[in-house]
Symmetry: C2
Subunit: 409 residues, 2 copies
């Protein structure tokens, strides 16, 4: 059996790890990048707390010595369902018995004209661009004499109050208030404006309303302005319009939703795959594309028919493991059960010592939740080096309020 | 007294630290980058052992709370000696009582046409471009079917056998032989060619000939080919010509010498500064430009009239400290003594466990010299976080042969 996996995110990687156990299965894992990325910590790179290599592990490193796994740097241009073949943009083609599509999501910016004026946060490149812009904003503010321009330079508008938006807001506010406070001579850190703009009624709306309220209070204590029930009507260079209000901000961050990568749409037109909300590929209870039993999809690119699952790492991890095990069973001609998502709870952090967490009916808030958050995230940060290195940098950062990766490059 | 310092390398930074002790001295330190760079470890970034932030510290972080020090991100466009004014490319001007020029050096590529085809190693950008090229070469070789192209992809030509060239060669050879050996399916790591090309008669020519010989043997044991007495006659895209020989190499690295940054030449034409070998500014025994008693130069941009000093960190550090102290004495109207360089020895490393060191008449070689090298370099790596983080990554890398920063971005 030859299994081709597109994408080495949480889903694809976990599927490959399961499959690699059976030496008779030939696995090819294709990714546009040579590394697996721990996306939940991207905001730490964007705010100069960690370096890209701290949250990335070379895909090859997971499969050292596993002769039945081949890692290929490349991009898929076409899936040929009839001949069971995929083609790469490099011209190379690969046959498969089973294909797993785990390509993930990208930012979904409603109005294409807004895209050039906002920073996203889905890739290392996104995070480095954002880091550069944040740090440069302070550098430019330091030498700016015009008070209006100075204010715009130290204004950070974040669109979307999901976990990414809230985590970024907290980290930027702390960067301005504590880390940089003694470093500049001509900026009053308390003049820095960090504004979260949310169209919905509350922050972190996937949590219980009582936790949303606590998160909002924690954000405000850090000096973050939270505007809920507020719709963005236009974004242009350095400006966000909210109906009649206009905010001048040198840094505008888009954290208001994602959609599938282009591949999903391509599959709609080429092999008749069905798309759902956010251009996601509809899959059945065994994660098979409808009417394509040898093609599977999981994680952010998939839309599970039984229930709408959130676009978070645990879903992709569970689906990846499930699918790996399913194909192992299939190989042994054993029965395959449907996928069931086990909700182990969710959590989000607000700055360096507050978090909220919700596990079933249990709700946590404050320092304890933050320690829980740190522990769980570092535990799941794959790869030994990263765990130790990231932990020490967290500790250092926690004790000193410094951020080590504050370099503009 | 207002002192303006151009450049926050080893020289400028150490001068500023001394001067900052006297609160009546106003210090402005200008740099094109927001960070101080530990240049001796650049080759580690280029070969995926460390991340940029591991060898960089924000300049502002050195002067937290030092109200008499201002850090400015900018580039100098003009020095006006008569009016004691410098101008920045941003249009801003700054007055000074004393000016310290510590802008450092850049790669000196003899023939301008060669420049687009080689990688230098003076900046973080250089190191990241080189890292990307090295890692991509292996990725491309993995999918290349033409044996000739495959060979070119896994050929690394390094021009110049000084410390940078030797350190890079050792690190690349180890990367190919040990780190990546189990990661690829279609590359035989022992097919990787790492070739050092040196016009002189031996490697590391600033050391005793007996140590050069030992270094050459250590390189050869790692699989590095060393060609001394070999002149490069032409470089084009992916090709190095050595008289009648032609080597096809996807990665060509220039490690054959540096010269002053452009500023030195500008000063020759604008204020009549005298230049010496490598476009360096001639300074007297007190590090003053000849005929310009309020303008000082030090480190790689300066040529000390008493003796030609090597372009290494200890020279810049000693000159920076000396000049800081000199100006403190001047401020107190005390006598200033001439600069004297104290040669504390030199060292270079070859791969992960061999080094050579020379201190006066003492010569060290092998494992002991390597431990000495690690200890001294990590000790001098400025900034607490970096020291701990770098040390742990070294240790991890040493124990496992893995390299943590192997990400292509």
């Amino acid at each position: 059996m030859k299994v081709v996996i597109i994408g080495a995110g949480f889903g694809g990687l976990n599927a490959a790890k399961q499959l690699a156990k059976n030496k008779d299965i030939e696995i090819v894992i294709i990714d546009r990048r040579n590394y697996h990325l721990f996306q939940p910590f991207l905001y730490q790179v964007a705010t100069a707390g960690l370096s890209p290599a701290d949250i990335s592990v070379p895909i090859r490193a997971f499969f050292r010595g596993r002769k039945n796994v081949e890692v290929l740097l490349g991009e898929v241009s076409e899936v040929d369902d009839k001949n069971k073949l995929i083609k790469l943009t490099s011209g190379k083609s690969l046959g498969f018995d089973k294909l797993i599509i785990a390509g993930g999501a990208k930012n979904r910016i409603f109005i294409p004209e807004w895209a050039p004026h906002v920073f996203g946060l889905k890739t290392i490149q996104d995070a480095l661009s954002l880091r550069k812009n944040i740090l440069m904003s302070f550098e430019l503010a330091e030498i700016e004499t015009d008070p209006q321009r100075k204010q715009a330079l130290t204004t950070f508008a974040i669109i979307g109050a999901g976990p990414t938006g809230v985590e970024l807001a907290g980290a930027i506010a702390e960067l301005a208030r504590f880390t940089l406070s003694e470093d500049f001579r001509n900026i009053d850190p308390s003049d820095t404006r960090v504004i979260i703009i949310e169209a919905g009624t509350r922050v972190l709306s996937s949590f219980d309303p009582s936790l949303s309220k606590k998160a909002k209070i924690a954000l405000e204590k850090l000096g973050v302005t939270v505007w809920t029930d507020t719709k963005v009507t236009k974004i242009s260079e350095g400006k966000v319009e909210l109906g009649q209000d206009i905010i001048s901000a040198n840094t505008i961050i888009w954290a208001a939703g994602v959609e599938s990568i282009e591949l999903a749409k391509d599959l709609e037109s080429t092999i008749g795959a069905q798309l759902k909300r956010g251009n996601r590929l509809l899959v059945n209870e065994k994660l098979q594309l409808i009417n394509h039993q040898d093609i599977y999809a999981l994680g952010d690119i998939a839309y599970f028919e039984n229930e709408e699952l959130p676009g978070i790492a645990p879903v992709a991890i569970q689906q990846g493991k499930y699918l790996g095990k399913s194909l192992l069973r299939l190989k042994k001609e054993k029965e395959v059960r449907p996928f069931e998502y086990r909700d182990k709870g969710q959590m989000a952090t607000i700055g360096r010592s507050k978090a909220i967490a919700q596990v079933g009916k249990l709700k946590f808030y404050g320092n304890f939740a933050w320690y829980l958050w740190v522990f769980i995230h570092i535990y799941f940060l794959i790869g030994f080096r990263n765990r130790v290195s990231v932990f020490l940098q967290w500790l250092w950062s926690y004790l000193t309020y410094k951020r080590g990766a504050r370099i503009i490059n």
